[in-house]
């Protein structure tokens, strides 16, 4: 055994996908222990929420998972709606499903693209980012913002779909799956990428469940658990879709699960666009200042990273007494030391990328 070296990666390093510091103990080039140090992006959003009214918290939730803002909006709004007993119009539920499935595509495009960049296949990044841009343009037409949407509000959504949006969206869902096939060939069929991804960072199903991972990280290990099907919410029971699963839980499986989820998302969007009917997009007669009954409520949705839950406690005042965000990226990142052990330093970068953490959500 050679002398061990301690290498510090980050916090600001392009390969850590955000502001994550990892203290790596190396024996030669082999990782003996990797310790993630998080909190560099901690803004105290849970504390800030206690000082704002229920509606003012929505823009804060945008800043949690900044590549999947719609999810945090929705999870928070569901929790408020449960707490205050608000019924959401059906059209609004459909719009929420459509935008969140688009958001899943946008978020996974970032995840898959960076997996490619981590393994040296930089061109895949260009293809996925072109796809992501289509989604972001749809969102821009919808609510004017490209990143922090503030679109889903307690009681519905902020505004109805603009004219011609449905056609643009249909054009995207028709164009997207063939591109996914192309990326499957370009990235996952590539000999070098396969060599870098296969068998690296294997997460067993037992560990995946025990460590509380969810989303593509758990499903990559073959854990068949998706809230859209297993704890159905909103109008999801009306759609027909598959849950892609990995086989052995390595980086390859996790990344590939994301790819196929995008294809399934297109199916859901198409069905939702077929079923959606005209109507109101916001609950009628809501007070401008919500002050729910004293009590607590929890609701969760399947975000691009896993089960994203918001726990709210009300004391009857117009501000939340306590807001807790159950962040999937936080729980997913906790398995990093487990996965990295025994692999080389360059594999560690691939493993971090395959967990697809977003530090706005990890650190909150």
């Amino acid at each position: 055994m050679t002398e061990q070296t301690i290498v510090n990666i980050g916090p600001s390093h392009p390969s850590t996908h955000g502001v994550c510091r990892v203290i790596v103990t190396l024996d030669g080039e082999t990782v003996v222990h990797a310790e993630p140090v998080i909190g560099h992006l901690h803004r105290g959003i849970e504390k800030m929420a206690e000082n704002r009214t229920y509606l003012q918290v929505v823009p804060l939730t945008d800043r949690l998972d900044y590549v999947g803002s719609m999810y945090a909006n929705w999870a928070y709004c569901r929790s408020v709606e449960r707490l205050a007993g608000i019924r959401v119009p059906e059209r609004a539920e459909y719009i929420r499903v459509i935008v969140c499935e688009l958001q899943r595509i946008a978020s996974h495009m970032m995840g898959i693209g960076s997996t490619g960049a981590d393994t040296g296949a930089t061109s895949a990044f260009m293809y996925t980012f072109a796809q992501r841009d289509h989604v972001v343009e749809l969102f821009e037409a919808l609510c004017g913002a490209r990143l922090t949407y503030n679109y889903v509000r307690p009681g519905g959504v902020s505004m109805d779909l603009p004219d011609g949006w449905v056609e643009q969206c249909r054009a995207f869902t028709a164009q997207h799956p063939p591109v996914m096939m192309e990326i499957d060939r370009l990235l996952f069929g590539n000999v070098i990428a396969r060599a870098r991804l296969k068998g690296v960072g294997v997460l067993t199903p037992e560990d995946a469940v025990g460590w509380g991972t969810s989303g593509p990280v758990a499903r990559g290990s073959g854990v068949d658990w998706d809230l859209r099907r297993d704890d159905p919410y909103s109008v999801y029971p009306r759609f027909d879709f598959q849950i892609p699963l990995g086989e052995i839980g390595d980086c390859y499986d996790r990344a590939r699960v994301r790819l196929w989820e995008c294809v399934e998302s297109c199916k859901i969007i198409n069905q939702a666009l077929d079923q959606i009917e005209p109507g109101s997009v916001h609950a009628e007669g809501l007070p401008r200042l919500l002050a729910p009954r004293p009590g607590d409520a929890y609701d969760h949705i399947e975000s691009a990273r896993g089960s994203l839950g918001v726990y709210l406690v009300s004391d009857g005042s117009p501000r939340p007494y306590r807001m807790k965000v159950r962040s999937p990226a936080f729980c997913n990142l906790a398995v990093l030391p487990l996965l990295a052990e025994g692999h080389t330093l360059s594999d560690l970068i691939v493993i971090i990328g395959s967990l697809d953490p977003v530090f706005g959500e990890v650190d909150r």
Partner: protein, 153 residues
């Protein structure tokens, strides 16, 4: 086991707590004494609650309410386990030995509330720096940088 059988089982195991067990939206709530928390958590895990979804705390003013959410994939059910600890001796048994997911989550609660989890292998601050003074999510936490927003009502 379905959710009704589960309720019966829990009500017979914890007779004094039976009225507190409610099933609302498929979610159950179990209020236990802090000394029996680990026992209840262990029971639930053996009943098939293999996922610890969330650990958090709420500062109620005179004590801390700890909230655990456990999930069963098999039963498609989630249960809240709640317990209360006193402010001045805020400590509770760690459930890290039952679900490793508790590791980071309990560290976060320690970081934000200063609640000590006995038996936790690595209880350090996680989001804040090691030299941070105070526990920010306590209601009596004071920091000059916090700007109290005016009441718009």
């Amino acid at each position: 086991m379905n959710i009704d059988e589960l309720r019966e089982h829990l009500c017979s195991t914890y007779p004094d707590l039976c009225p507190l067990f409610s099933v609302e939206y498929g979610d159950g709530m179990l209020m236990v004494d802090s000394s029996r928390l680990h026992e209840a958590a262990s029971d639930l895990r053996d009943l098939g609650f293999d996922r610890l979804g969330m650990v958090t705390a709420v500062d109620t003013g005179d004590e801390f309410e700890l909230v655990y959410r456990v999930q069963s994939r098999e039963m498609h059910a989630g249960i809240f386990v709640k317990t209360r600890v006193a402010r001045d001796v805020a400590s509770i048994a760690s459930v890290n030995d039952l679900w490793p997911a508790a590791n980071w989550q309990e560290r976060e609660v320690f970081d934000m509330f200063g609640i000590v989890f006995e038996g936790h292998p690595d209880l350090r601050r996680i989001l804040l720096t090691d030299d941070w003074v105070g526990y920010p999510l306590r209601k009596d936490y004071e920091d000059e940088r916090i700007i109290r927003r005016p009441d718009y009502i």
